[in-house]
Symmetry: none
Subunit: 204 residues, 4 copies
DNA sequence: GATGAATGAGGATTCATTCAT
DNA sequence: TATGAATGAATCCTCATTCAT
């Protein structure tokens, strides 16, 4: 009996995730407004009504398809490993981010939608804005340190941080290439350039 | 009589442009699917039916709101003035582009939509793809020249060109700041970093 | 001046007729509801607004496209030449009618519409009903005479008259053949059978 | 549970039929274009949206309102009982057909629309055309046999068959009388005349 | 009169949400 | 909870009619 409940519970959770991921994928490809619940249900292989058993409304489903992965990946973005020098730290960081960008096209497309149509999703936008600030707060000290150590050219570290984030967003917008593609590793070099590496601290 | 026809003609064209610009603005803010023709009509101060006198369908209106400004600005993007050194040329270029990005938020948001939901707008996406290639073809020689003259670090010039475009797109996605804001001029420096300027050829 | 006015007058009348005939043709092919004024104008080669200069409304145009030819051809249908014997009279009649049916597809299709959707065109239907009665009143005496003379089998002459009219309508419904087609002459024989010709008075 | 599903299934099917029959009735009275889905829904006592749950589109609903009764009654029209003599067979046939014509005004009005506006419903028209040919193929042998046995006057049997069908169509066009009306039985005599019965084989 | 742009009521269709089973 | 039919508000688009030129 306990096992049954557990199993049901697990299955319950799995079904919810299945719906959520399918929704994320479809919302990202087709956009919020043009994606229908019927499509999501069909694509996820669940019944139409089930979607509403697990999510209160279409909007709630959209929100979750942004907020849950955001929550899951926040720490990865914000709590990065520090190496001996800032340049090493940043380069390691970029590799991780680029990998993430390459692998999470759907998630980033949803972020793009929220940013582009911020008037439609004000609370989600605010959430992203908060994340942006947290990210700047985490990255700036490293940049500053690098500038002080002469590894990076001088300049407003906040500007560097935001242009770096914009660059990542823009990349994912422009490219539909699959994760394994060499483009993504090549782009780490370009991303690093935004930090203004001085001679001797460029990409090896 | 001729004057009357002329005047009517002019007014006719102005009304069309009014609708087109209103549409561009609303499409960019709210997205294609969530923008209604009724909103566009009301916002432009014309009747609902008038929109359909000037544009065959909602889709046609959307297409024109991308294609017409694209056509108008293509040459500005592709035929840039060449200065004595590549670095000067590129820096001048960036200033022009950044000014354009700052001033044409609506246009760029529509481009973002088309790129993000390319499956929904295949012919528009193709058009943008063509533009992208033309832009690379125009920019690469300058980058190569700069690399040969030692002004820019080496690296695939196509990669530089595309990351530059992605950066511009990403910037306009991330920021809602008005044209005059200092952010845009500050960002020219960041954009220039993507070209990998060597010591002595950085931003002045 | 007088000539100019006359010419203008003639041209005016011709233009009106052009519109009317085009309308008749399109109404008959596409049906009243599915035919648009714009189509009529384009097909007639006149400006859109002209249609409303000559006819008060779409409905008025439809009505005229039935009533005018009806008025013009009424006498032909009702005042037929009498020959020596009823059978000759009827056979001559049928030839004329069949010729008319073959040549006036559009007109008959409009009649069919009015009859079929009588609730939509009550006054037009009434007009046709009146014509039907007049036709019966004109034809019955001939039929009776023929029956008395032993040329036609006995039977309610009204029944014969109405079945004859129904037959003509049904024919024009079923066939799209052009006027010259042999079908129409062949059908005169079938039409004559409805009168119940006795041996020796059949079609020669 | 099975019973519930069965009941639901039945009710589902009944609702579909209710919509279909209401649609058939309204389409026949008002014509395809002038009949609105809202009217059909209201008249059938179902919600507006329900119509679209059961039928893909207005056009599909119209098609079904012709094709389903056509399919159901095809065999009745084509597979007739043969009596000892062709004249008996034909007279029995006519009684059945006339009964059908009297009872199925709506169905026949829809057929009339499709024939009259064949350009708008090409596939439906083709279907009717096929039926027409099948009917001729079935009827001609009987007529021929009757002609050989001297019961019917000579003449192209195809002509007889098609004029007979045209007559039925024309009848239903001209009369709005209810099924029980004496007109319909009286008309069997007229219909029989089209076969050219020779003396001694006329209507009893 | 002639023209064709302007208007908005009306209609087909979609789809989120509700709800009975 | 699972299902999918029922609902009707919302939206695109058409087109008769009006009207300014």
């Amino acid at each position: 009996m306990a096992r049954t409940a557990e199993k049901r519970e697990r299955s319950h959770h799995e079904k919810r995730n299945l719906i959520l991921q399918t929704a994320q994928s479809l919302f990202s490809e087709t956009g919020y407004a043009a994606t229908t619940i019927a499509e999501i249900a069909k694509s996820a292989g669940v019944s139409f009504g089930s979607v509403f058993s697990y999510f209160e409304s279409k909007e709630a489903l959209f929100k979750q398809s942004l907020l849950e992965p955001l929550e899951q990946n926040k720490s990865m973005f914000l709590r990065f490993t520090t190496f001996e020098t800032p340049s090493e730290t940043v380069q390691a960081l970029i590799r991780i981010h680029m990998e993430f960008v390459a692998r999470n096209a759907a998630f980033l497309r949803i972020i793009q939608q929220v940013i582009a149509q911020r008037a439609q999703f004000p609370d989600l936008f605010e959430e992203l804005d908060r994340f942006n600030h947290e990210f700047q707060d985490a990255l700036c000290p490293i940049i500053l340190q690098g500038q002080e150590m002469g590894e990076f050219s001088s300049g407003d570290p906040n500007l560097v941080a935001t242009s770096y984030l914009s660059f990542l967003l823009g990349l994912r917008l422009a490219y539909a290439d699959p994760p394994g593609h060499s483009l993504w590793s090549a782009m780490t070099v370009m991303a690093y350039r935004l930090f203004g590496p001085t001679a001797g601290h460029g990409e090896a």
